[in-house]
């Protein structure tokens, strides 16, 4: 028995002025006990067949994109590639849940979401090829640069959504994060700011089980990552991250909720990183083959094929057409990346400031002289 005996509530009536007690009921904010699924449930029949076919197409093309990019790293044609193999459902559903006017804030593992959003597949890879930091135009594509520092893009999404709301524009921002990113301070600050500002923003956490080598059990002791939402006063949703139509439904709901002034949502998608962290990583050092094999049976493309076929919604023509489109893209990637990149060393000084400082002008002159001397030696 302690002095705090909960069987006898304190006699103090409520709260003193200025102090803040519990202000809302957390129950409606809690995620479902089990992840939301559409495949294998009655919800599948209610889903638009065209949407299912488009999701399937993007999954198949996306898988090939991941495979080809991974191969290109082995051939030394990309500097590095953090593959989203196994996570394609999250990638394509995120892109498809957004409208033209909305903004995507991807992390470094979300190149496929960027491509699925409509960014040129080769421009999306300049960062990882190593010839430019960001190859696409963020404003024209409403897609932020791939964020390499973890969770730092989350507050950007909040700020952009906040500015759009102030302007009266029906724009939603979607920030993509990983399970490891939820440990970062920026994740916390972004969710808190989003909630306080009622910003039209959606946070999608792809929980793929590992932050490089560290499993989720060592990353968080929360009941689920989706439960973290409750602490900020926003709803958390838990969804099967390999069920593309389920992801699309949950994301679309959250996007429309944000667009209509309902505020932010945190979504945790349960998925798995089939490949190592990057081509430079050795996943056999920290996880068993059996675990990977089990997740291969829960592969997002496999699930779609199995359930669409069972429902009579998948025909050979579609399968062939998607495969052909995937091969076309892979061929284009090989053709482009086997050619040497065009580089302009003088561009290093072009965009540090709107106007180069006198010191940068001097350094640019120095590099130009070095290049001229090199050229002379070569002739």
């Amino acid at each position: 028995m302690t002095v705090l005996d909960h069987r006898h509530p304190a006699a103090v009536p409520g709260w003193l002025p200025g102090a803040t007690g519990p202000r809302s009921d957390p129950a409606p904010l809690l995620p479902d006990a089990t992840p939301v699924r559409v495949l294998g449930t009655p919800a599948l029949e209610k889903t638009d067949p065209e949407l299912l076919h488009e999701l399937y197409r993007r999954l198949v093309v996306g898988r090939r994109y991941n495979q080809q990019a991974t191969t290109l790293t082995k051939q030394g044609r990309l500097a590095v590639y953090p593959a989203s193999t196994g996570q394609e459902a999250c990638q394509v559903a995120a892109a498809m849940a957004l409208g033209e006017q909305d903004w995507l804030f991807p992390s470094y593992r979300d190149t496929l979401a960027v491509v699925s959003r409509g960014v040129d597949p080769l421009e999306a890879l300049t960062l990882l090829r190593g010839n430019a930091h960001t190859g696409y135009d963020p404003k024209a594509t409403r897609t932020a640069p791939l964020a390499t520092p973890l969770a730092t893009q989350a507050p950007h999404a909040v700020g952009l959504a906040h500015a759009a709301r102030l302007a009266g524009d029906p724009v939603v921002a979607l920030a993509m994060l990983g399970d490891g990113g939820t440990s970062e301070g920026d994740f916390h600050e972004a969710l808190n700011f989003a909630a306080v500002l009622n910003a039209p923003v959606v946070f999608l956490v792809q929980n793929n089980g590992y932050a490089i080598s560290v499993p989720l059990t060592q990353q968080s002791a929360a009941p689920s990552l989706a439960h973290k939402a409750v602490g900020y006063g926003i709803p958390g949703r838990l969804v099967d991250g390999n069920d593309a139509p389920a992801l699309h439904a949950v994301l679309t709901e959250a996007v429309e909720r944000a667009r209509s002034g309902g505020g932010p949502t945190l979504i945790e998608a349960l998925t798995y990183r089939i490949e190592a962290h990057t081509n430079a990583d050795d996943a056999t050092r920290y996880r068993e083959d059996d675990e990977v094999a089990a997740w291969r049976e829960h592969d997002p493309i496999l699930l779609m094929e199995r359930h669409l076929a069972a429902a009579g919604m998948l025909d050979d023509a579609l399968v062939r057409d998607c495969a052909a489109q995937a091969e076309d893209l892979a061929a284009r990637m090989r053709a482009e990346f086997h050619a040497d990149a065009q580089l302009d060393p003088m561009s290093l000084f072009a965009h540090v400031y709107a106007e180069p400082t006198p010191q940068l002008r001097e350094q640019a002159d120095q590099l130009a002289a070095e290049l001229a001397a090199e050229a002379e030696v070569h002739h």
Binding site: W103, A132, H133, T134, D137, P138, K139, A144, P145, P149, T152, A154, P155, H156, A157, V158, G159, L160, A161, H162, A163, A164, L166, A167, A173, G185, D186, E189, A190, N192, F193, V196, L197, S347, A350, H351, V352, Y353, A354, T357, P358, Q359
Partner: protein, 334 residues
């Protein structure tokens, strides 16, 4: 603590009032200018620099944020991406450190990362420096962290007129500006006219001409240098005082012209010396003006110690005597 009141036309004002006027005028001139930070709304900021802005422009334009500096700056990045021109207040020098990753990895690099497609016109106002009797974490001179980061402009006014003009110029800049406000100069009043044309950032100004040696300084050390120059007359030295006003861009041309014409120079700042702005300036001046120098360029700086408790800070901060000691070591016998 004095409360800043709106300033109109030529008049006597404190630096705090001039900064307040600059924010108000910038917000009036451009609806894209938004102020955000901790306690900037109803309270008007702990130094009252944002006094009255929420009342005049509404809480959306001058926003009290949750207490989280990375969140504030990260949110400002997103706002700038959408076309706004955010002005962020960091409450104190050392309280800006949680925002360093946003500043270094995103604010400073976004223009470069996107080949010029996504410039971030963000002004980050930071009250900095000691001399106000602040307890620990309230008196840091953090300028070298910022000057060492390509992509940032680093500006620091030392006069009331510059506080107004440089803040207007910083807010108008399409590049991110770290705007360092010498908090110990907030309340000194002088005449200034906000109607005078705004000077671009990046230009040093000679505050006092002299033939013996030049004191190169900025921000909170300017009044100390002017006092030292006055005291030096008794020693027979005629000291010039150069106010850099902007550390990045660094006005190398003006600095070198002055040093070449005088031949002796001392760099003065209150930040620690090792790896500080003064080290860069001394090295640069030596490289560019070597044959015009009669003595090595000396530095008078704070010691290489964490900022002291308030009762001891006067031992750390460069004063008139320490400056004159350095001047005495400029090899006059040669």
């Amino acid at each position: 603590m004095t409360t800043a009141t709106p300033v109109r036309g030529a008049r006597t004002a404190s630096m705090a009032q001039a900064l307040n006027s600059a924010l108000r005028d910038a917000m009036q001139a451009d609806p894209a200018v938004h102020v955000l930070g901790e306690d900037v709304g109803q309270l008007g900021g702990v130094f009252r620099i944002t006094d009255g802005l929420t009342k005049e422009f509404g809480a959306d334009r001058c926003l009290d944020t949750p207490l989280a500096e990375a969140g504030i700056l990260g949110t400002a990045v997103g706002m700038a991406m959408y076309g706004l021109r955010p002005v962020v207040e960091m409450q104190f020098d050392a309280f800006a450190y949680p925002a360093m990753e946003q500043l270094f990895s995103h604010v400073a690099k976004m223009r470069n990362r996107t080949a010029g497609r996504l410039p971030l016109p963000i002004t980050i106002r930071i009250p900095y420096g000691g001399g106000i009797g602040g307890v620990e974490h309230h008196s840091d001179s953090s300028e070298a962290y910022y000057t060492h980061t390509p992509g940032l402009h680093v500006v620091t006014p030392a006069t009331v007129a510059d506080a107004y003009g440089l803040l207007r110029a910083s807010i108008a800049s399409d590049d991110p500006v770290v705007f360092l406000e010498p908090k110990r100069l907030y309340w000194g009043k002088t005449e200034f006219d906000p109607a005078l044309p705004v000077e671009p950032i990046g230009r040093a100004v000679l505050r006092r001409t002299g033939r013996s040696a030049v004191l190169i300084t900025y921000g909170p050390s300017l009044p100390v240098c002017l006092e030292a120059a006055e005291a030096a007359r008794a020693e027979g030295w005629d000291l010039a005082v150069l106010d850099l006003r902007s550390l990045v861009p660094f006005d190398e041309q003006t600095v070198c012209e002055v040093v070449r014409s005088i031949g002796r120079a001392v760099v003065v700042h209150e930040a620690s010396g090792f790896g500080g702005a003064g080290a860069e300036i001394a090295a640069r001046v030596t490289e560019k003006c070597f044959h015009h120098l009669a003595a090595p360029v000396l530095r008078v700086t704070g010691f290489d110690i964490p900022f002291p408790p308030p009762m001891l800070e006067h031992h750390h901060l460069p004063g008139v005597d320490r400056i004159l000691d350095a001047v005495a070591r400029l090899q006059w016998e040669d």
